[in-house]
Subunit: 174 residues, 2 copies
Amino acid sequence: MERKRIAVDMDNVMADIGFQLLGWYRDRTGVSLTEQDMMGKDEIAVFPDPSIARGFLYEPGFFLEAKVMEHCREVMEKMNKVHDIFIVSAAMEFPNSLAEKYAWLERHFPFLGWQQFVFCGSKSIIHADYLIDDHLKNLDFFAGEKLLFTAPHNIHVTKYTRVNTWLELADIFL
Amino acid sequence: MERKRIAVDMDNVMADIGFQLLGWYRDRTGVSLTEQDMMGKDEIAVFPDPSIARGFLYEPGFFLEAKVMEHCREVMEKMNKVHDIFIVSAAMEFPNSLAEKYAWLERHFPFLGWQQFVFCGSKSIIHADYLIDDHLKNLDFFAGEKLLFTAPHNIHVTKYTRVNTWLELADIFL
């Protein structure tokens, strides 16, 4: 594949925010949901008390401590050598997350530069060949090729080409 | 003019960063430069000790306390009603500025929403009809129509259509 400009979402594509929500909710309330419970459900509304889960998105540490999705780091490092990668996060809804997301990227992806980071409110402003994202609200308004990254909340979506893992992304882009 | 998608730079277009640099440098060193001294010069290298001026860009308060450019607020409010406005700042070089720039926009432009904010490293990722910016490094890599907003450092540039004030932007877009 020739060199492409690829926009990559952070939450649930690079950072395992679903796992983070489950863990924080369990620690805070004692209530354990499984990834199976999340299937096909809105990732916040699925919790018995959604306001608690939503509150986590504004709490210090929530984004900073998220774990990296499986195989993301090594595949991204290779993709970064042969494509123009931009990390595009709709971070503006949670302004306290801006510094944490920046620090998280520097910590886990030291081979990326700040020139490649984009924090926005709407991804309709993004000019790229591909957008890899788990949310329809982002993909719907993107002008280029759309890849839906599988997350529990989107398993019933059939609208876009689906990728399930970073190994599948490696097959497409490497 | 039909509805357009307009990307607007912050520093030296919405926020008077040149004035801020002059004031902070004078307060810190006792050395007063005038706007005339800045004409045609790099906005940091022009100072007797550029490292001091560059240091300001990393200091708390520097971006937060910048004054709004003349006529920017009222013209922007009108433009925001008839066009799709995005505020696009190459803020990633100064990660501590992210929260301050967000707060500054909310303070001075309450009619804008976070959906319209974009903080990026490179403006080559921006998809819009227009980019209004004072820096060639941003305009050069933008795919749409380019408008060079006059700042002391760029007065000798002849490469792009120039706008000198927000009143001229009103003439174009309103």
